[in-house]
């Protein structure tokens, strides 16, 4: 008596597909252990892997100009900009600074709108703003952690 292959073939194919679905992502990610490439889903998670001996650091810093008195308030907190986080905003500032003035303006307008929306939704209690200023700040702690100095340059305003 011969056995028909049909009914048994399906579960076997299903098992093979499942095993492939198990092995394929693991194999690709295993290759990334030894590769110097970052992507999304497969990457080598190189965050903070570079050696850092310098006692200076330069970052973009976001300030808001209060409506009325015109004083500045520092806004380096993700709650003001959610769902944009500061890492993403700083990467975006780098990109728009290299692009056109128009892109720069559009990004700052989007940031201002996000600040207003988050205030409306009760995510922060920041003051109403007249404008947003982006500074490039260089910190220096060569004299010690407790005696840092900083220098800032205005790079964008809207």
């Amino acid at each position: 008596m011969t056995r028909l292959p049909g009914p048994r073939a399906a579960p076997s194919l299903f098992k093979t597909a499942r095993l492939l679905a198990f092995l394929l992502p693991i194999s690709i990610q295993s290759c990334y252990v030894f590769r110097d490439a970052d992507g999304w889903l497969f990457e080598n998670f190189s965050l903070f892997s570079a050696l850092s001996k310098s006692t200076t650091a330069t970052r973009y810093s976001i300030y808001g100009v209060r409506q009325g008195d015109g004083t500045e308030v520092r806004l380096d907190e993700s709650a003001y900009w959610a769902p944009l986080d500061l890492l993403r905003i700083r990467a975006a500032l780098d990109l728009v600074a290299r692009a056109s003035k128009d892109d720069e303006r559009r990004f700052l307008v989007a940031l201002k709108e996000r600040y207003r929306l988050n205030a409306e939704r009760g995510r922060h209690a920041g003051p109403p703003l007249d404008s947003i200023r982006i500074y490039r700040v260089t910190y220096d702690w060569a004299a010690g952690v407790d005696r840092p100095t900083s220098q800032r340059t205005l790079v964008m305003e809207r």
């Binding site: 679905a21 252990v33 080598n44 903070f48 050696l51 850092s52 907190e77």
Partner: protein, 412 residues
Amino acid sequence: MSVGFARLVADLLKRNTTARPVDLGVMRCWVFGLLFLHYVRHDFAAFARLPAVLWRPPFWLRSVSMEFFEPSRVEALQVAWLVLLAFACIGLWVSISGVGALLVGVILLWFENTIAYANSKDVLIVWAMYALAVLSTPDQFSVDHLLFRRRFEHASRGAMPAKSNFLAITFVRAMLALMFCSAAFSKLRASGIHWGTNGTLANLFVTKALTWDRSPRVPGLAEALARHPMWCDVLARGALLLELSAPLVLVSVWARRLVAPALFVMLASFWLVLGISFPMTLVCFVFFLRFSDEMELPASDRTGPTGPPRVLFDADSRWCRACARFFAKKAAAKSLELTPTGDPRADALLRDAHLSWTRGCTWLLLKGDTAYRGSAAFIEMLAIMGSLWRLGCLLYLIPRCLRDPLSSRRRT
């Protein structure tokens, strides 16, 4: 040599193939439920309103324009995702809702990560969704189980569910181990062993403290640590060693008990010290937890699908005696056989079932071909009671390591 290797592999697999049907269901609830809570207030459409110059898709998707992701479309996708996540969490049409949540989630998270820069925070949770949706079979801890009981009765008789549950859990553990291992290797590749000897971590703490990323963290902790570069180097070397030892969680039960909690604490401390949070990666550690405590009985001691479930309880515990009296009264119609420890029938039962009464154990339930121990036995007894008592099954959501000590502490 090859026989020895095969025996070693078989032993490793045997020691690691301990996935219970309930475990994966509880993991599914946690993963999809916490994803829902995390993203319910997240505004994906905000990314669609940014200038197109920030759009950074991978080279093979450059033909897709950012205009495709117009705000209204992204909002609709997010609503669909939240509905699918909620269905997948409670286990309603779990095969469809799980795969749907995975697909829509990948689109939304990928879109977010093509804006300005790719964040690795969400990677592991995507793989957890993949494991739950693609590698696992419908589980016992779901609304589907209540609605389509017959389908589950057929499924539970085969060995397939246990194997696929094992695959799903092992997959997430493997991806987590590879993630940490990749991070360690990229540090060694970029900086060598100097990453742990050169004050790099102290510098990172200072930078984080000075650049004043006012993300939620313990105030002053990064600054305090940065004042002690030697300690920071010790911490850095410890972190590197821990990341390198992550693959051990796949092969050793003891490593899993030590390394997995240590990795969890390390990630949580990034949050506390540096304000860098990986909430969804922390959720994936749920795949290292156990929720049920059941074992298959030898064929000679099975009560059979129609036989009365038998319960052994700790006669020295006032709480157990009170519960046993309550169960005896309420579950008379269910023919629950309750036997206190010390009774000759209890000894005979344990002997026949090849089980031992471990210290601290308060309950043992023998039902059909399965023995449930500790708090899992108590939860199963609640399920036997029927009606609203079945809601007691939600106690499975508490990990066994927390639930069992709570139940055994209630002794006289």
